[in-house]
Amino acid sequence: MIQLHQIEKVYRTDTVETQALNGINLAVAKGEFLSIMGPSGCGKSTLLNIMGLLDEPSGGQISIAGSDTRNLGDKQMAHFRNQRIGFIFQSYHLINDLRVLDNVELPLLYRKSAAKERRELAAEALGKVGLSNRMKHFPTQLSGGQKQRVAIARAIVGRPSIILADEPTGNLDSAMGNEVMDILLRLNKEDGTTIVMVTHDEQMARKTHRLVRLFDGAQVQ
């Protein structure tokens, strides 16, 4: 599903050059639930951003679902993300000025879909994460766990084949973290969604199919 070949990422300033990723080779199979672990600053999030086409590698090749992403333009990249990838972030990234339902609808706004259809799909996604009764609420009226569930609903509303989750349980207590993890496992198992999750939590990582460890920008496991 996702093929990374010799991925390099170098951050340059006037005086300093930082090698964030160094020759990463990774293949994620369709339907696989992969977790990435490593100490802070080892390049986990950078790797996830590159997989999600949110960041460009300094070198190497990314292929997603058989498509080489190197030559994609801005519009094609946006379309690719919209159609194939769902994102979940540690800090949820919900828009506080929009109600829960409107937040979930967001990816569908960038597709040609009617308002009614968008509402139905958003409501369905919220149903999957058990938040049908919070559709009219604003994010500020929700708990951390509920916010992350809204973020998951937003990630799955467009029915992407890949979900990239950057420390989805990082801001949650263990009970809420487990709830969120259960939802992700269910999505993986029932819908066959490919999930790549960055985590610091060994216990969460053990629930996934495979664990990849990074250290100083290189894959060590």
């Binding site: 949110l54 801005d74 993300r81 990816p107």
Partner: protein, 388 residues
């Protein structure tokens, strides 16, 4: 997307209240400015109705004894007119009332015809007025000598008054009461005698047939020598040695009158210019601040499928939606002017002014949000999402 933008703006209505108010007030000021501009431009485009080139406006104030017989004053007038007509370079001379073209004087009279009331400007002029100013008669004729023997005194009315009283009917021969019954002998094309930007008002011309008028207009020939003016002055001083005489070119008086008409317009433009500048800076600041405050949101939108162009369009779209709400409120208020006929101006002026004010405000908002919108499009999602 439009529904999404409306939702977004509506949910932030408290944050946007001041900008909303600023845009509402700006629209009303722009509406006032454009109404004034459209009104003045509309007047400017209308035909002047007379020729001002090579016409001198002369005032020869002469104090006569209070008991001076009218007939002798008439003789003095006629002698002066003949003497002036004999000056080389003079084509025609006409006595006129104090409210002759491009003066500050105004005189009006209430007249009612068939239960329709009007307050036309009332002018006095002699038989040569049409020749001096080359006015165009729409119907009938200008005054002539035969009017001196007519049973009823003659009047000439302008097109505006003719339309008000008679509509499409022919006014020639009809009787108007201006204190005494007078017969309409002609309809003259409207004269823009208060300046090029003044509106056309109803007017009635009465015939000067006796007494002394201290103001007259003199038409010069195309090749009149520069000395003609001094010869005219000498002629007047010869006939009326103790008179207080002033000679001005009608062209100069026109320029002066037009300047005076434009002063309030220029003042309004300067004031509104400052306001527009403030509004522009305000909008730019608000949009810029909003973009910087919402970097995470913009990064997220890019992550879920927004293109760079889409982000720019969204930022501009939000500003336009935000403008539309106060604009609608402003249009409702502005529409009361034609509905209640507050300044007796044609409805078309208000409609054009509303459209121009709305278009100007939309253009201003688009320009002010274009640069912040472009900057927003350059936000790198990975960086923005990490910062937030």
């Amino acid at each position: 997307m439009l529904q999404h933008l409306l939702t977004l703006i509506w949910n932030k209505k408290r944050q946007h209240f001041l900008l909303f108010l600023e845009l509402f007030i700006s629209f009303l000021v722009l509406f006032a400015v454009f109404t004034m501009l459209v009104f003045n431009y509309g007047n400017y485009r209308k035909p002047r109705g007379f020729e001002y080139e090579r016409v001198l406006s002369v005032s020869a104030f002469q104090r006569f004894a209070g008991d001076a017989p009218r007939d002798s004053l008439t003789i003095i007038s006629q002698q002066l007119k003949r003497a002036l007509e004999a000056v080389p370079g003079v084509t025609a001379v006409s006595y006129v009332s104090g409210n002759s073209p491009y003066t500050m004087s105004q005189s009006s009279n209430n007249i009612t015809y068939n239960n329709i009331s009007a307050q036309p400007d009332e002018y006095w002029a002699d038989d040569d007025f049409a020749k001096v100013l080359q006015v165009h008669m729409v119907k009938g004729r200008w005054f002539n000598k035969s009017d001196g023997a007519a049973a009823r005194k003659p009047v000439v009315i302008n097109e505006t008054l003719a339309e008000k009283f008679f509509g499409t009917a022919d006014p020639v021969g009809k009787i108007l009461n201006t204190g005494t019954d007078k017969q309409i002998v002609g309809v003259v094309r409207n004269l823009k005698d208060k300046g090029d930007y003044a509106e056309l008002t109803p007017g009635i011309y009465q015939r000067i047939d006796s007494g002394y008028q201290d103001r007259f207009l003199i038409k010069l020939t195309a090749g009149a020598a520069p000395s003609t003016e001094s010869m005219i002055y000498k002629t007047i001083m010869h006939q009326l040695p103790s008179s207080n005489t002033e000679i001005e070119k009608l062209e100069d008086k026109r320029v002066m009158k037009n300047r005076m008409s434009l002063i309030p317009v220029i003042l309004m433009l300067v004031i509104s210019g400052f306001l527009v500048l403030n509004v522009a800076l305000g909008i730019y600041g608000v949009v810029w601040y909003s973009v910087n405050k919402r970097r995470g949101e913009i990064g997220l939108r890019k992550a879920v499928g927004a293109t760079s162009g889409g982000i720019t369009r969204q930022i501009i779209g939000e500003a336009l939606v935000l403008t539309t709400l106060p604009l609608l409120l402003g249009i409702i208020l502005a529409a009361q002017f034609p509905l209640l006929n507050l300044f007796d101006m044609p409805v078309s002026i208000y409609i054009v002014a509303i459209l121009m004010a709305a278009a100007f405000l939309y253009l201003l908002v688009t320009l002010c949000s274009l640069y912040p919108g472009r900057q927003a499009a350059k936000i790198y999602p990975a960086v923005a999402l990490h910062e937030d």
